[in-house]
């Protein structure tokens, strides 16, 4: 089993245990008249069982593979770009209300274009400004979306 797969399976297992505890506290009532915790409890137990099953199966499979021949597991090499994108999105969420739509969107686009064209900063600056203006025109002006302006005010 790949390391990532194991982490996901274990996270699901932890979630399952959490759901079981939480739904038990919600109230199960009776079998003939189930309460709000009944259905999530069943799901939590089911999730734990499935995770257990997948771990057992994977452990068996890994044993078999390792006895036959040792193979090198290839992990994805490029996690930097997805990581940068996630950071950009989180940054956009944090700064949208403070910096306002025009400034935060400009920086958001600038960094994203910079990922693809790291040396063409002038081109991507101009392109980002045009896109911010276009986006505001379509969504803010025509579709009347009330974007925040942060410290710039309205």
């Amino acid at each position: 089993m790949k390391k990532g797969e194991l982490i996901i399976a274990l996270s699901m297992g932890v979630l399952g245990i959490w759901i079981v505890i939480d739904s038990y506290n919600m109230g199960l009532q009776t079998i003939s008249n189930p309460g709000p915790g009944f259905f999530p409890l069943v799901l939590g137990v089911l999730l734990c069982l499935l995770v257990l099953l997948i771990c057992i199966r994977s452990a068996r499979y890994t044993k078999k593979v390792s006895t036959v021949k040792k193979t090198s597991v290839e992990y994805p090499t490029n996690f930097i770009k997805p990581g940068l994108i996630i950071a950009c999105l989180l940054g956009y969420f944090f700064f949208l209300d403070t910096l306002g739509f025009p400034i935060s969107t400009f920086f958001f686009l600038f960094i994203l274009f910079w990922i693809g064209y790291p040396r063409k900063w002038l081109f991507i600056s101009i392109f980002s400004v045009i896109l911010v203006a276009l986006a505001y025109l379509v969504f803010g002006y025509l579709l009347q979306t009330p974007f925040p302006f942060g410290f710039l005010g309205n």
């Binding site: 990532g4 008249n33 189930p34 770009k81 994108i85 996630i86 999105l89 686009l109």
Partner: protein, 499 residues
């Protein structure tokens, strides 16, 4: 009211300028994303969901449905010309379509795929129209047990057909059901898993969730993969109209593809991908010259392209008649209906005749629009293919953040979308399919309500199931289905051990 009066109502609705515009926008965007590899109809429909909140339910469904069947048309262009399927349902088209292009017959390949798509699409709408009315009349008689049985059968088939690992698919299904529990309990009115957050009191918002799971995660997946340089085999396409010989060879595959595609579209988890693959294998099997397949046989383009468009119409039947989506696109479309307060159910057509017939008639108009759009605009689609992904992805992400923000005008939805995007990316990376998750999330509340009502009605008497034939058939089918799939896996495992 007879069927003709209903059709007249539908056309009256759809021929309003506003609705025509959304129909055109839908099929245009659909074709565009079908052409562009790296963004599929599921991601696009998810991204467009927030935009549709401000327009009428009819216009929004017309547009989103247009994206779906439009993508089926557009997907064939890249398969034939570049050997890169624009979306999964066009994978098989590339086998013979690309070979035809190499032989200088890209025009007839594109032409027959457009005509086949049109015929398959139109055929499926006619059958949908005829089938959905009587089926919804029967469905009114369904009780909670029948719904429970249909949902379980549907979910099992979706997990089995759309995932590589049944176990991982089940985990995703259960995870989706858990996410569906967040919010206010429908029966008792108590808050569940909200942890004092007001945002969660009405449950997790489906729009930022699907935008993250499909839109953001797709961008993250594409950006982390090395982009291959595309080589075009044909930049100028001539003679788009197939000749008489092409038509003679294609007419039967188109007819078979229409029927096969429609019925496979009905099956939960079946959809467009399965129908195109099965159509290809059927054509190869019935062909007098099976050795030509893979070397540029026009039947290998006509059959699958017809079938994947016919499957779209088929997929609408369970949604309209029972209120149960049969695939992921239908699940997202269902959430769009719910957003507008017109959730599909057995009584949906009776309550909303204008809406239902408007959607049906829009598909006729949309298919004609696609036929007109596809053939003359092929050179433009080829040009669009040359846009590098590093320019496209910031635009997609900009669209995502604006879309997420405009749902409730709050930045918190961007955070929700981002978190689901990250989760979706990691889950896909390790072969945990997202389809069962979203299907279970959408069907979760209906599933839970039906389960709890069934338990109360049954009064601890399990033999009650045997008095309900529909539920009994569904449960038996599911049991037999699981039994045989486990048996075949066990046999394969045994063969491996012996080897």
């Amino acid at each position: 009211m007879d069927i003709w009066s209903n059709i007249a109502i539908g056309f009256k609705q759809v021929l309003e300028l506003n609705n025509l515009f959304y129909c055109f926008a839908g099929v245009l965007v659909g074709t565009l994303i079908g052409v562009l590899p790296g963004i599929g109809p599921v991601a696009t429909i998810s991204l467009l969901l927030p935009m549709t909140m401000r327009i009428s339910p009819l216009a929004s469904i017309i547009m989103l449905a247009g994206v779906y069947y439009g993508a089926m048309y557009g997907g064939s262009t890249t398969s034939i010309l570049v050997n890169i399927p624009g979306e999964a349902a066009s994978v098989v088209t590339s086998i013979d379509g690309y070979q035809m292009a190499r032989k200088g017959r890209a025009g007839p390949a594109l032409g027959i795929s457009a005509f086949g798509s049109f015929i398959g699409g139109t055929f499926s709408i006619v059958i949908l129209m005829l089938l959905v009315m009587p089926l919804s009349k029967i469905a009114i008689l369904f009780g909670p047990l029948e719904y429970l049985a249909i949902i379980i059968t549907g979910m099992v088939m979706v997990i089995y057909l759309s995932t590589k690992s049944f176990l991982k698919g089940l985990i995703m299904g259960v995870f989706g059901l858990i996410l569906g529990c967040v919010g206010t309990d429908i029966i008792s009115g108590k808050f569940r898993f909200t942890y004092g957050l007001l945002y969660l009191s009405e449950g997790i918002d489906i729009v930022p969730m699907v935008m993250g799971l499909f839109g953001i995660s797709e961008v993250l997946t594409n950006i982390s993969e090395i982009q291959e340089k595309r080589t075009f085999f044909a930049t100028r396409v001539k003679n788009l109209l197939p000749n008489l010989q092409d038509w003679k060879r294609s007419i039967l595959p188109i007819s078979r593809g229409s029927i096969l595609g429609f019925f496979l579209g009905l099956i939960p988890g079946g959809g467009t991908i399965l129908s195109s693959f099965i159509s290809y294998s059927v054509e190869k099997k019935v062909s007098k010259n099976p050795e030509e397949f893979g070397k540029g046989a026009i039947e290998g383009v006509a059959g699958p392209e017809t079938a994947n468009n016919a499957a779209v119409g088929g997929a609408f039947v369970p949604l309209f008649a029972l209120g149960i989506p049969s695939n992921i696109v239908m699940a997202i479309l269902m959430s769009s209906f719910i957003i507008h307060g017109v959730a599909p159910s057995p009584g949906f057509i009776a309550k909303n005749p204008g809406l239902f017939w408007g959607i049906i008639c829009s598909m006729y108009i949309g298919n004609i629009m696609l036929l007109i759009l596809n053939l003359p605009l092929i050179s433009i689609w080829i040009k669009i293919l040359e846009i590098p992904y590093k320019i496209l992805f910031p635009l997609i992400l900009l669209f995502c953040v604006i879309g997420a923000y405009s749902i409730n005008y709050r930045a918190f939805d961007i955070l929700v979308m981002t978190l689901f995007g990250l989760a979706g990316y990691l889950l896909r990376r390790f072969d945990y399919e997202l389809t069962p998750l979203v299907m279970a999330f959408v069907l979760g509340p209906m599933f839970e309500t039906s389960l709890r009502q069934t338990i109360i009605i049954s009064n601890r008497n399990i033999s009650f199931i045997f008095t309900r034939p529909i539920a009994l058939v569904c449960f038996s089918f599911t049991f037999v289905f699981i039994f045989f799939s486990l048996l075949s896996r066990f046999r394969k495992l045994k063969e491996k051990i012996i080897e």
